[in-house]
Every structure is written in structure tokens, then in C-alpha cells.
């Protein structure tokens, strides 16, 4: 879907801010770009929609070189969400969401239908929210309107720069789940910049780690944790947290085995991390597993321990 080739950005004589970076994101995937602050993540994103012109290299979207388009026309085809949402304070929620469709010359009736559809998708009752100003929304609602605005013209690609950075932890978690659900439903390709590894693991089908303008590794979360390319990546994917992050990537059904166990059951859709937590808290060595109310087997502490170690399961991908 999107291919970045030898992309470089240089300001003056200082070392490049983004340095000969190449990567690819497949259609329908979420790629989480992580790295310490100043590592060039924002610059990478802004070169993709040409808010910043690259010094060298090129970007292909669906095989088409983005240089061939005029900047503002390119940007109408790519969704863009920034930290602190950047909603237009003088426009209603509906006008904000309808920004790009209006620029593209959609008919008013089409825009209205699309606005209502998106508000519904993000769990906001259209009649109650359409006419409000951004100042009349909570932080979480503003953030959702920001994402809805970016999705309004049905872009195939969505760029998000620390979209949840301004939210408190509880709201952030909910916003992340919601984004994952919306993305799964629409199949939008997403490049999401974050400095929060937890968020990257939670949302990214793949994670790209940047440091000093260079791409250190781009891989699935499981592979990155199992085989970090450099000590920096290893430190970033988090020494002590690693086993728990590995477990949080998989559902209970992946580790289910035949057999009996006592006590309250756990749902097959829950994460292995939840299963470990339940084992430790209730002092059991195994939990019964249910799917839609039916017993399908058990998950054991031994299996969890095995999967919490690198190379523990069939997750070479």
C-alpha cells in the first residue's frame, strides 16, 4: 500500500533528521512508528503527506509516486490526525468532520450523511453532537471527532501523530480499542506515531523503531520482542515488561489444551496476560476455558510460562 524508499530529510548542514529510510506498510495494516522524542517520527509522517518536502528519496502510495500530485491534492487523499486534535474552534462538529469532503466538492446531502455515519461509528449520537462546537466536547470526544474528520473522505491511508497523547490513561485505552475496531471494520492502512511502546504493541500489526533518524527494525511485535535487532530496540521493547507484553499479544484460545480445571472459567477471547493474572490471583495452576458459555478445555500456568519466553510458541511471524 505504502512504500518509502531511501527517504531523507536534512535541514542545513546538521545531520539528517530522517536518514535514508526505507520501509513498507501492507494494505489494511497498522504500522506503529516508535522512537524517543526527536528521532524523526513526525518528520517521516509529514514527508508522506508532503507537509515537509523530502531532501531525497521517494514515497509510493498504491504504486504511485506522491511527487506527481500537488501537495494539497495529495493531502485530501490521506487522513491526518495530530496530537491535541487541532479541531477548528469556529466550526461545529459536523463542519469539522465535513472539512475534506467540502474541499473535494461533495454535495451537502452526501456530506451530512457521511458525518452522521461517522458520528455513529464513533458512538456519538448525531443529533446530540452534530451542532456542538469543539469547546463543548470532552477531550475524548474531541479526539474522536479528530479521527472522524481524518476518515471523512474515505482515505485509504491514515497518518496519526501521537493521536492519543493528550488523553488520560483510561480514556486513552478506550480510544485505542475503538481505533482498532474501526480500523478492522474499514480496512484503512494506518501509520501511527507514538512514543508509548505499550500503545505500539497494542495497536501495531507491525512496529517500526526509529532512532536518530534511522529505521532500526520493522517487524511484528512478537518477532521484535523475540529477536530485537539492536540493544536499543531491546531496551525499548522493555526488559522487565517483555514477558507480559508477549502474553498480551495472544488470546487464550491459542494456548488452550484438552483437560479439566477447577474454579471460575476464563473466556477464550481474553488475552494470555489476563489468564496469567487470573492464575496468580486465585492461586491456581490451570483455568477452565469457555467459548460462548461452553467449556472447550483449559489453559495451564506451564503453558503460559512457556509462551512468555522468547520463541515460546508458533509466532515466528
Amino acid at each position: 500500500m505504502i512504500r518509502v524508499e531511501n527517504l531523507t530529510k536534512r535541514y542545513g548542514d546538521s545531520p539528517p533528521v530522517v536518514d535514508d529510510l526505507s520501509m513498507e506498510v501492507a494494505a489494511g495494516e497498522i504500522c506503529a512508528v516508535v522512537g524517543t522524542s526527536g528521532s524523526g517520527k513526525t518528520t517521516l509522517l509529514r514527508m508522506i503527506n508532503r507537509l515537509v518536502e523530502p531532501s531525497a528519496g521517494r514515497v509510493l502510495i498504491a504504486g504511485e509516486n506522491t511527487r506527481g500530485l500537488r501537495g494539497h491534492e495529495l493531502r485530501r487523499r490521506i487522513g491526518y490526525v495530530i496530537q491535541g486534535h487541532g479541531l477548528f474552534p469556529h466550526w461545529s462538529v459536523a463542519q469539522n468532520i465535513g472539512t475534506v469532503p467540502r474541499l473535494l466538492g461533495w454535495k451537502p446531502a452526501e456530506i451530512k450523511a457521511r458525518v452522521d455515519e461517522l458520528l455513529g461509528l464513533f458512538g456519538m449520537e448525531p443529533a446530540a453532537f452534530r451542532d456542538r462546537r469543539p469547546a463543548e466536547l470532552s477531550g475524548g470526544q474531541q479526539q474522536r471527532v479528530g479521527v472522524a474528520r481524518a476518515l471523512a473522505a474515505r482515505p485509504d491511508l491514515l497518518l496519526m501523530d501521537e493521536p492519543f497523547g493528550a488523553l488520560d490513561p483510561v480514556i486513552r485505552g478506550r480510544a485505542q480499542d475503538e481505533l482498532a475496531a474501526v480500523q478492522a471494520r474499514l480496512g484503512t492502512t494506518i501509520m501511527l506515531v507514538t512514543h508509548d511502546m505499550e500503545e505500539a504493541v497494542r495497536l501495531g500489526h507491525r512496529i517500526a523503531v526509529m532512532d536518530g533518524g534511522r529505521l532500526l527494525q520493522c517487524a511484528s511485535p512478537a518477532e521484535m520482542m523475540a529477536r530485537p535487532a539492536t540493544p536499543f530496540v531491546e531496551a525499548l521493547v522493555g526488559g522487565a515488561e517483555r514477558p507480559f507484553r508477549l502474553l498480551s499479544l495472544e488470546r487464550v484460545e491459542a494456548a488452550v489444551e484438552a483437560g479439566e480445571a477447577d474454579g471460575p472459567p476464563i473466556d477464550a477471547e481474553a488475552s494470555l496476560r489476563d489468564a496469567l493474572s487470573a492464575c496468580l490471583w486465585s492461586g491456581r495452576d490451570a483455568l477452565p476455558v469457555e467459548r460462548e458459555g461452553r467449556r472447550i478445555g483449559r489453559v495451564t500456568l506451564a503453558a503460559l510460562r512457556h509462551r512468555a519466553a522468547p520463541g515460546g510458541a508458533g509466532r515466528a511471524a
Partner: protein, 245 residues
Amino acid sequence: MRLLGAAWRIALLLGLGVFLARPDLFAPIFAPLTRFDAPAIYDGTSLLSLTLNHLALTFAATLAASALALGLAVLVTRPAGAEFLPFSRALANAGQTFPPVAVLALTVPLLGFGAAPTFLALFLYGLLPVFENALAGLSGVSPGVSEAARGSGMTGLQRLRLVELPLAAPVILAGIRLSAIVSLGTATVGSTVAAKTLGEVVIAGLLSGNTAFVLQGGLIVAALAILINDAFLWVEGRLRARLAS
């Protein structure tokens, strides 16, 4: 409280209207201020026509100054025009520092007597407040909002028209208000070079030692200033409310 404020403004407007239409009705009030049986109400030119002339001159000068100052502020807040900032600022500052009386003295030999030199003096004097306010308003748009406007695919002109100008409007309007009020007062000086403004009444009063004339001219200008200022404030308030709620 607001009702009281509105009531006293309406009274002021009505009072001014009646005074300009039938100044003779007010002669008994001003009579005690005259000496040696001098007329109580200025009758060299009708007060109404002087007032209308005064307003027209102020309006034209403010409009022209606002157009140029706003244009300059828009120019210097574009990346391509940023280099004109020092020049524009110097121009606006010079217009403000140079006393209107001196402008009149210097331009009469070129433009002759009357409205033209007065217009020029008011125009130059009115540039700075609009320029500085427009600059503050346009560059005060939050970086997140500008970034979102660019990121949504607005062209430079669309950003200006749809986002920057509407957001800066109350601050720009405040600049135009300052410029208009200052022009209104300063226009009286134009009468020294024979422009038909309310300054004529004041000067006639000074020359003939007739305090009633001085007071009439001053009161009319003051009433106009209050009413115009209030009208601007009202519009600014509406704009601000639209942005805030």
C-alpha cells in the same frame, strides 16, 4: 444592567439626532456660555452637514487604512512575504509617529487645502492599530489548528479565508475600532486646512471666544465616538461569542 446600558445609548443617539436636526431648540441651553449676545448655536455651516462630512472623511480614511494594513499583515504572515515584515512595520510605525498636523502642513502645498490632505493624514495615522492587531490575530492562530488546516488539504488561500481570518476577526476588528475612534477625533484638526469637519465649529469658537461653539463641536464628536465604539464592541462581542461557544 445591560438594559440600562442599552437605554442610555439609545437616548444618546436620539439626543444627537434631534440636536443635529433642530439645533435651534437647544439654543437656551448654550446661551449662558456666550458673551456679548453672540449666537448660541454655530451657523457658519449646518451642524448636520459638518457631521456627515466628518463621518464620511473618517469612514473613508479608516476603510483605506484598514484595507492596506490588513493586506500588509496578511502578506507578512505568509512564508513568501515574511521578509516584508520589517518594512511594513516601519511604514505603519512612521504613519503613527508623524503628527497629523505636520502631515497637513507638509502636504497642503502638494494637495491643496481641504479634504485631500486631511484624508492622507488620517489614513497614515490609522495604519498602525489595524496592522498590529491583524498581525497578532493572524499569527495567534494555534499551531495545531494551522497544521490541521494544511493537513486536510486546504490551499493557502483556503486556510486564510476559512480558518485564519475568521479566527482573527475579533482582534482585527478591535484594531479597526481603535483606528476609527482615533481618526474621528483627529479629523477635527483637518479644519485648520479648510476641510469641512466638526473642527470648524471648535475653531470658530476659539477664534471668537465663544465657549458654546467649542462645547458643541466637542460634544458631537464625543457622542459619535461613544456610539461608534459601542457598535464595534457589540460586533466584536458577537464574533467572540461565536468562536467561544
